[in-house]
């Protein structure tokens, strides 16, 4: 079974090829079958491979399949090789499993759209690229997938291309992440110069012998890789693209901008763990970036009105938790949270999609309301998913992973990170239930019609189940890949921390209920108060990062290209040509056409020459 591993990515890739070549010729039904089926095959192969890997473990718990040698230039010889170990298996499971459900849901969501086939071809290409990313055993191969998912993200955000705003959101996403990618590429150059290889296993094996702990070079490499990770995972300071990316169809937001692609940064750092452990400073900064992002995103989410943007900021903040976990050395907990987050965030996005479609593409939560009767399935999905997001104790998947992160941060002595996480959890509860209370309770604002059909109910139901404690029971097989975090088997203290974080979550929910159920008098007063109003605007603008980048980068760039549109260097050269031309004009005037003038100049010239000859 393991030697069929290549099918995992080949199947979506073939799906992409068939759909893109056959567009316009195949019906929507067939396109849906191909698009969803290819991911289904991929998921089944992953399952089979996973079972075999876990039941017949090899010495290092990994299986490598060499496809072909990409190139060989001197000592640089990257391979196309797939490596399946606990970490990549977990990622593959999330990508193909959750991916399959989202594809299935999308076949309902996108029905009737004229770009149906195109949509599924992009989605399949995305899954294939994402699998490249997690299966590649070489950093260059990983980079291949890394850029590939970026492209698909671009294509899917701008999927409804008629609206220029979507196009600009898509470009923003690609370019901002590309900035991160470029840092990462430079990191790869530096790594190659130092270690002479980009093979992950080889590099991780030789790195501890090559670098001293905390040496400048390895710190630089780690920071550059972190640059790539923050770009892809929408962390500070490259987080600005994610909220805009919600311009894409909702299944895209679920798959790419919640469950899989945005967590690639977490995967990258986990994959290159050895380098980060050699650079404690960089690792510490991973945690700080995570903590800062989760707070920033939490505050921003408090005042957003667009249902998808709220979820986008919550994604940002949950990935902040993962970064925080990585920074605290809770490697396994980070990946565990990545997995549970994929479940409940996909659920939230899909049900948000159901709500949006039911309300005729309305996304403003304040124009919705009282939907719990009309849309029972999305309502319960939101309740369960939202609780998981807030980590309601014991019942939800999110609790098990988030609690582990907080406990390990605490146990590892990262009190600052722990407190940030705890406060973030409080914010999460407030904004999540603000959303739920506003959309599903209160007065009915709009007419809504519920979806139906297996491709609508099944994905939601499965994800709903996985978002409860059932999802928390799944333990990713990471023990051979990543070290155990600090405070393993904490006992008494761990229990207390769990209790504390659980209380905070419940408190947050209660506060949200207090504020947003009923007629919201206090909130209205707060919004109009002298302090609340500007603060609200500041939060609403996500702390003004967009404004800052616009002033710092976009404006100067546009100014320069506008001023220099006609190429001043060319004008310089043409000015030289122009001056020759005017000299020519002057000299032409001496050509009078009069013989007397010519004779005089001949004579004067002769006199001059003779004089020079005689005098020297």
């Amino acid at each position: 079974m393991l030697n069929l591993l290549f099918l995992v990515f080949l199947s979506p890739l073939l799906g992409f090829l068939i759909l893109s070549l056959g567009r316009g010729r195949i019906s929507q039904n067939l396109a849906g079958v191909i698009g969803v089926g290819s991911i289904g095959i991929s998921a089944l192969v992953t399952l089979g491979c996973g079972i075999q890997l876990l039941t017949h473990p090899s010495a290092d718990g990994a299986y490598t399949q060499l496809l072909w040698q990409w190139m060989q230039v001197g000592s640089f010889n990257p391979r196309f090789a797939l490596r399946l170990d606990g970490l990549s298996l977990t990622m593959c499971g999330v990508i193909t499993g959750v991916g399959f459900l989202i594809h299935l849901f999308a076949s309902w969501y996108m029905r009737g759209d004229e770009g149906f086939t195109r949509f599924f071809s992009y989605m399949n290409l995305f899954v294939a690229s994402m699998l490249f990313l997690v299966l590649g055993d070489n950093l260059l191969f990983l980079y291949f997938g890394w850029e590939g998912v970026g492209l698909c993200s671009y294509l899917l955000i701008g999927f409804w291309y008629q609206d220029p705003a979507n196009g600009s959101a898509a470009r923003k996403a690609f370019i901002v992440t590309r900035v991160g990618d470029t840092f990462m590429a430079i990191g790869l150059f530096l790594l190659f110069r130092e270690l002479g290889t980009l093979d992950i296993q080889q590099a991780m094996a030789t790195a501890p012998g090559h670098f001293e702990v905390g040496s400048k070079t390895v710190t630089a490499i780690a920071f550059l890789l972190l640059g790539g990770a923050v770009g892809k995972s929408a962390q500070l300071p490259l987080q600005t693209w994610l909220p805009d990316a919600m311009a894409g169809p909702t299944p895209v937001s679920a798959l790419i901008h919640a469950a899989t692609m945005v967590t690639a940064g977490v995967y990258l750092i986990a994959r290159t763990r050895v380098l980060f452990e050699l650079a404690p400073l960089a690792l510490h900064w991973v945690g700080i970036v995570g903590a800062a992002t989760l707070l920033l995103a939490g505050f921003t989410a408090l005042v957003q009105t667009d249902i998808k943007r709220i979820l986008a900021y919550s994604t940002m903040s949950q990935i902040g938790y993962m970064f925080l976990a990585l920074g605290a050395g809770a490697w396994q907990a980070a990946i565990f949270h990545l997995m549970t987050h994929a479940f409940f965030k996909a659920l939230l996005f899909l049900s948000a999609g159901a709500v949006i479609l039911a309300c005729h593409h309305e996304q403003d939560i304040f124009k919705m309301g009282g939907l719990r009767k009309k849309l029972p399935l999305p309502f319960w999905s939101f309740i369960v998913g939202g609780s998981a997001l807030c980590a309601v104790p014991y019942l939800t998947a999110g609790f098990y992973s988030k609690d582990e992160i907080l406990w390990q941060a605490f146990a590892g002595g990262h009190i600052d990170l722990f407190l940030a996480g705890l406060f973030g959890a409080f914010l999460t509860s407030i904004y999540t239930f603000r959303l739920i209370f506003t959309v599903f309770f209160g007065k009915e604002h709009s007419a809504a019609h519920s979806g139906h059909g297996i491709s609508y109910t099944l994905p939601l139901a499965v994800l709903l189940l996985l978002s409860t404690f059932v999802g928390g029971m799944i333990h990713p097989p990471l023990s051979l890949v990543l070290p155990a975090g600090p405070g393993e088997g904490g006992g008494e203290m761990e229990h207390k921390i769990a209790l504390l974080s659980g209380t905070v979550a419940i408190l947050g929910i209660a506060l949200a209920g207090l504020l947003f159920l009923g007629d919201r008098r206090f909130v209205k007063w707060l919004n109009n108060s002298a302090l609340g109003e500007p603060l609200g605007r500041f939060f609403g603008a996500a702390f003004g990062f967009d404004w800052l980048y616009d002033k710092l980068f976009v404006r100067p760039f546009l100014w320069f290209v506008r001023v220099n549109a006609s190429d001043y260097l060319d004008r310089g050269i043409m000015a030289a040509a122009g001056s020759l031309q005017s000299l020519n004009g002057e000299l032409t005037k001496t050509q009078t056409g009069r013989i007397r003038w010519y004779a005089a100049s001949v004579a004067a010239g002769a006199v001059l020459v003779i004089a020079v000859a005689a005098l020297t």
Partner: protein, 102 residues
């Protein structure tokens, strides 16, 4: 008979040459221009002859004959030009033919 000193004849040749040049510069009638050219040529020829006699070399007189033929050729071409000029522009003014001005 004492030979004429070289300086004298060169002075004469120079004067004639300058007069010819002056004639070209100030006259616009092509006939006079041609005549001035003849004067200049003869001035040059005179210089050759006197130099030849000074050093008792035959070259000076050979050059004189060359210049004589040159002058004849020049006169024929010049007169042909004169006729063309007259036919085209109905005038003998050289400035009228300034069609080549830039």
């Amino acid at each position: 008979m004492t030979p004429v000193p070289l300086e004298h004849s060169l002075l004469l040749a120079g004067t004639l040459f300058s007069l010819g040049l002056l004639g070209i510069l100030v006259r616009r009638n092509i006939l006079f221009v041609l005549m001035s050219i003849e004067v200049m040529m003869n001035a040059a020829a005179l210089a050759f002859v006197s130099a030849g006699s000074r050093w008792a070399q035959p070259d000076g007189q050979i050059m004189f004959i060359l210049i004589l033929t040159l002058a004849a050729a020049e006169a024929s071409v010049g007169l042909a030009l004169l006729l063309q000029l007259h036919r085209r522009f109905k005038t003998l003014d050289t400035d009228a033919a300034s069609e080549m001005k830039g």
